[in-house]
């Protein structure tokens, strides 16, 4: 067991090295002079030279890479040009907002998609099956920022059920004392139900947007994998032995069908982390996605680089967790290690 986990961690190392090299190369690919870029448009020649020495840009590329890795190891992602604040600190304080949104979206999506996929697979050709297919095809065609705007129009402007799409909390409320950084959890710890409801109301629409977006691949995969499992010999045997349909589907088929679904979660996360940026822009969500978009508009490169790196490291970590989870669910994988 421990051996398997260690082996998986070893597999993630080359990806991590690749990620660091690519983010380093992205800074060097800046058109023109990076020093002039980092110094800003109003800087004098002298100031640019100063920045060049300060950033170590006068040294050979390999030394620069060494410095970059060294800074990273100390958690230093550089400073933002516009605010002068360290990027690492800013990302750290904004990360819980993004994580809360993404995780809630994913959970809602799984709660809907998995039962829908199973129902579609157990009743092939039924209305439910067709609904599942239409939802899946429409879901992958919907631009995520468009879904978000439509939801805002319907639930905020027309129905007035949801608050204005502006951030995590009502403007008149102060955030709960920070424990996890997730407002839903922190407000419950503080016993402040008012804040809990307010943050939940703000969360529903963006989380629903992300859920609609990731519904399609999960439902599709669940359906396909469930169909394959239901056609297998052991399910036939279980049925022939007189087990109830519920027992066959839930205990025997479902657990086996979940194995390929867990692997597709890796791909779903890739889409979800990207979609997160767009959803945060639509709902003015103060997460790391908006941070990156604001930096883009201001041509501020250090925050963007930090953002790409953080996202990539999180994605590698998520894939690692999925890999380990895969080993836990499927004993055959464990035996191989």
């Amino acid at each position: 067991m421990l051996g398997m986990i260690l082996k998986r961690v070893m597999f993630a190392v080359p990806s991590l090295i690749g990620v660091v090299i690519v983010t380093f190369l992205l800074t060097r690919a800046l058109p023109g002079d990076p020093a002039a870029y980092f110094a800003g448009p109003a800087a004098s020649q002298e100031a640019i030279e100063q920045i060049r020495v300060k950033l170590g840009l006068d040294k050979p590329l390999i030394v620069q890479f060494g410095n970059y890795v060294n800074d990273l190891a100390q958690g230093d992602l550089g400073n933002s040009l516009t605010t002068g604040q360290p990027v690492g600190k800013e990302i750290k304080s904004r990360l819980p907002a993004s994580a809360e949104l993404t995780l809630l979206g994913l959970i809602v999506s799984i709660l809907i998609a998995v039962p829908l996929g199973i129902a579609a697979a157990t009743h092939p050709g039924s209305l439910l099956d067709h609904t599942c297919r239409v939802v899946a095809t429409a879901g992958v065609s919907l631009p995520v920022f468009f879904t978000g705007l439509i939801l805002v129009y319907i639930f905020y402007y027309l129905l007035g059920w949801s608050p204005a799409p502006l951030g995590r909390l009502d403007v008149f409320m102060s955030p709960p004392p920070q424990v996890t950084g997730f407002y839903l959890i922190d407000s419950l710890i503080a016993g402040n139900l008012e804040v809990f409801w307010s943050s939940l109301k703000q969360l529903i629409l963006p989380a629903a947007t992300l859920a609609i977006f990731s519904l399609a691949p999960i439902a599709r995969m669940t359906r396909a994998s469930m169909l394959a499992v239901l056609a297998s010999d052991f399910v036939r045997t279980a049925r022939a032995s007189g087990l109830s349909p519920y027992m066959v589907i839930v205990t025997y088929a479902f657990r086996n069908a979940m194995i390929p679904v867990v692997t597709t979660l890796g791909m779903v996360f890739s889409f979800l982390l990207g979609a997160n940026v767009l959803v945060e822009k639509v709902f003015a969500w103060p997460g790391i996605g908006s941070f990156a978009v604001e930096a883009l508009i201001a041509s501020d490169f250090a925050p963007l680089q930090g953002f790409v790196l953080t996202m990539a490291i999180m994605y590698v970590a998520l894939n690692l967790i999925i890999d380990i989870l895969y080993g836990l669910i499927d004993p055959r994988v464990r035996l191989e290690a």
Binding site: G18, L26, L30, V140, L142, F146, L278, Q305, V308
Partner: protein, 294 residues
């Protein structure tokens, strides 16, 4: 499914493929519908700018923020520009970005993948490593980083979209090429004295073409979404250029005050285009590779 696969293949060649295609389109109404939509999109991209009722860039502040009417079918935006004209004219740019990026990744990923599958060894390892490194990033985030680093232009949007799709193409091409590595026709070509590169380009590549074309139509939708997403957050296309992603972004602020049409119609156009390409991709796959139908 099996009944299509079991049908004996008629005489090979373009005519047979066409006949088979017509059969599948006739069989599958959805593919026929998608094909019709595709024709409309291509027409809008080619002749759209010449037939729209209004100048897509002409502003008229007196007529700003008016809802859909007989004069302005999709209403007008905050500067009084006709949304319908802008949506139609934008088709060309969005379609161009998608086609260009898919063609580019087809060249890069297809050739690299075929070489990796055919030669194996170091070529395979290098291509595999590049693909793995790209896959280690959330794709949209990597695209953002590439465009921001290389410069905020439409060319770089195309390049970034192509790069993030690279692993997909390289993997498909690699898998298809590696099963044909020792195939009879390859060995025959080798025995008659053809060099390895010549075999790769003249024998293996044409053989995997149908699968690669299906791959292209399946990723067209994603390419459009990716490009529109990038321009939605302010990368690549700059105002006042008409492009679906940036139009949705411009209309986003008016959604909360009830002027829905500014963002809705370009968003709808985007959705229809992506939907069409996805359906078409599925249909094409049925024609080329009936066994993979789901």
């Amino acid at each position: 499914m099996t009944d299509i696969a079991a049908t004996p293949r008629p005489s090979s060649g373009l005519a047979a493929l066409f006949r088979h295609g017509r059969y599948v389109i006739g069989e599958n109404k959805v593919t026929g519908f998608a094909f019709g939509l595709f024709i409309i999109i291509v027409l809008a991209a080619v002749i759209g700018p010449y037939i729209v009722p209004h100048d897509p860039l002409a502003s008229d502040t007196a007529a700003a923020l008016k809802g859909p009417s007989a004069k302005h079918w999709f209403g007008t935006d905050q500067l009084g520009r006709d949304v319908f004209s802008r949506v139609v004219v934008a088709t060309r740019l969005d379609f161009f970005i998608a086609v260009a990026s898919v063609a580019l990744v087809f060249l890069m990923g297809g050739l690299a993948g075929v070489a990796a599958g055919f030669f194996g060894g170091w070529t395979d390892r290098i291509v595999g490593r590049i693909a793995d490194t790209i896959m280690a990033f959330p794709l949209f985030v990597l695209a953002m980083g590439i465009v921001a680093a290389l410069g905020n232009t439409v060319q770089n949007i195309i390049l970034a979209t192509a790069i993030v799709n690279f692993p997909l193409y390289a993997r498909v091409a690699r898998a298809e090429a590696s099963v044909r590595r020792e195939a009879g026709f390859v060995q025959a070509a080798r025995l008659s004295g053809n060099g390895e590169f010549r075999i790769l380009l003249a024998q293996v590549l044409p053989n995997i073409m149908p699968i690669m074309i299906v791959q292209m139509s399946l990723t067209m939708g994603y390419a459009i979404l990716n490009a529109a997403g990038l321009s939605f957050i302010g990368l690549g296309v700059r105002p006042p250029t008409a492009e679906w992603g940036i139009m949705v972004a411009e209309g986003a602020a008016f959604m909360v005050s009830g002027e829905w049409w500014i963002a809705f119609f370009p968003g709808l156009a985007l959705m229809v285009a992506v939907f069409c390409f996805n359906l078409l991709g599925d249909g094409l796959r049925d024609i080329v590779d009936p066994q993979r139908r789901t």
